[in-house]
């Protein structure tokens, strides 16, 4: 059964799964970022591979399709020399009525060493990790690649890596997170990471329909006016607005969203002159971000993608060796 304890840390406090950034000690986060740095250079070599996870079987379990995230995990695992098996479960087992945990038991019987899990339900990765513990398989590791609205910890870590790369010290930063925070696991993970590392000023900006209740409780300030919310900040993180939410009871239209919350050069001018612009991708140009800004010199959106592979290599190699 799911316990009160977070199953990602073992009895000695060692990281055995990565399920959420909430509650991870700052030293653990910093150690992941530090470990990612040397992995970053491997992509520039003749042989883009190290033998750390040779012979390990990594199962990419994607109950929601996401080519982007699945590919970066696949590259990361392959650069660690692991064998990668991609399963798009959305199209196989569950449609035949097999339960999530039955799927897991079957793959464990195939000697899986690690699951990279993307699921539409918040807490799915926790459920799997608790189940592995309860069934005596603590040597099988779980990486949460996005669970519902709850968390996307490797994205949060790569965002932190990117911010640290350009801005160094979290304890002097103002970070603005803009858009659909309500449905965003990216925002939740980043907020936990930033507050854990001592970022004094984290702001969320959006209409009341897209901000979750009592989000202040996560240690952020709330703004509805983007020009005011973005003023003087060092980092602007734009969130993706899902197509199905652009028109309906949450928002009247994507055009009106862009008018109020789309990042334009004009709005960006309110931030610090050296502010960086981030986006987890895939971008909706002209909805949450204007093309000249997305492609502009302050955009670090493509470096985020590159760093993402190194961060995922660090996470996988750290927990697989735990």
């Amino acid at each position: 059964m799911m316990g009160k304890r977070n199953p990602q840390l073992d009895a000695d406090g060692k990281l055995v799964h990565l399920l959420t950034l909430e509650g991870l000690p700052a030293e653990t986060i910093v150690s992941i970022l530090d470990t990612a740095a040397p992995f970053a250079s491997i992509g520039e070599r003749e042989v883009k591979k190290v033998p750390l996870m040779r012979g390990k079987a990594v199962f990419n379990l994607f109950f929601e399709s996401s080519t982007r995230t699945r590919t970066t995990f696949e590259i990361a695992a392959k650069r660690l020399s692991a064998d990668v098996i991609n399963l798009n479960i959305g199209a196989s087992s569950t449609s035949k009525g097999e339960s999530l945990l039955d799927t897991i038991d079957n793959l464990v019987a195939m000697n899986a060493d690690m699951f990279v899990v993307r699921h539409g339900q918040s807490g799915a990765a926790h459920l799997i990790a608790s189940h592995l513990q309860a069934t005596g398989k603590p040597h099988v590791h779980v990486v949460n690649a996005g669970d519902g609205r709850h968390g996307h910890p490797t994205q949060g870590l790569l965002d932190l890596y990117t911010i640290r790369h350009y801005k160094r010290d979290f304890r002097a930063l103002s970070v603005a997170i803009v858009g659909d925070v309500l449905h965003s696991r990216v925002a939740r993970s980043l907020i936990h990471g930033l507050t854990t590392l001592g970022t004094p000023d984290v702001r969320v900006i959006g209409p009341k329909t897209l901000l979750p209740a009592r989000v202040e409780g996560m240690g952020v300030s709330v703004h509805h006016d983007m020009r005011e919310g973005i003023a003087g900040c060092d980092v602007v993180v734009m969130l993706r607005l899902q197509n199905e939410r652009m028109k309906g009871a949450l928002l009247p239209s994507s055009g009106e969203f862009f008018k109020h919350y789309g990042l334009t050069a004009d709005k960006l001018a309110r931030a610090k002159p050296d502010a960086i612009v981030m986006h987890p991708g895939p971008m909706n140009r002209g909805v949450e971000i204007d093309s000249p800004v997305a492609d502009g010199e302050r955009s670090v959106i493509l470096p985020q993608v590159t760093f993402g592979i190194a961060v995922r290599m660090a996470v996988m190699s750290m927990i697989a060796g735990a």
Partner: protein, 174 residues
């Protein structure tokens, strides 16, 4: 600073370095690149580049991602970025380490070098050879040879003035 262990005669690190440099002067190619294994080997590589005549590019290598004890010990925190500021393909490389023992770090370093390209030749230079090899690896250049009990580690340190010194720790200590 590591304590002197009774019963082990450790050489003076600076004298061993001078002896190593003298042997290398006689054999190392003029354009050979020096690659030090972090962290002790990196300090020695920097010093040797000034002590051994020739045009020696200096690189650094961290073998954390190539170690064969990952499955049992996991990934150590504090891995550093390998930095080889020359084209490995076709290069003559002298791999440099502080203490040669089982040969496993050397094996890991050679594997890593090959992932950067195919070198023309790799030689091995070590400050101290303590014997106890578990792999068929022999250094071409040795500063000093020492006999040492299995449960002890020989550790190289660098003082604030840049001077190197050798000490002994119980194996397993940080």
């Amino acid at each position: 600073m590591a304590a002197e262990a009774p019963g082990i005669a450790l050489p003076d690190a600076e004298e061993a370095l001078e002896a190593l440099a003298a042997r290398m002067r006689a054999g190392v190619a003029h354009g050979a690149a020096f690659v030090g294994i972090y962290s002790g080997g990196a300090w020695i590589a920097e010093r040797l580049a000034t002590l051994v005549p020739g045009d020696h590019a200096v690189g650094y290598i961290d073998v954390s991602f190539y170690r064969d004890d990952y499955a049992s010990k996991g990934l150590k925190a504090g891995a550093r970025r390998s930095d080889l500021p020359f084209d490995v393909a076709g290069a003559t490389i002298v791999l440099i380490d502080d203490v040669l023992y089982t040969g496993r770090s050397t094996r890991a370093a050679i594997n890593e070098l090959f992932d950067y390209g195919r070198p023309a030749a790799i030689e091995l230079a070590v400050l101290v050879d303590r014997g106890g090899r578990e792999l068929p690896i022999e250094p071409g250049y040795v500063g000093a040879r020492v006999a040492c009990a299995r449960d002890l580690s020989i550790v190289l340190s660098r003082g604030e003035d840049g001077r190197l010194s050798l000490g002994v720790e119980r194996a397993g200590e940080p």
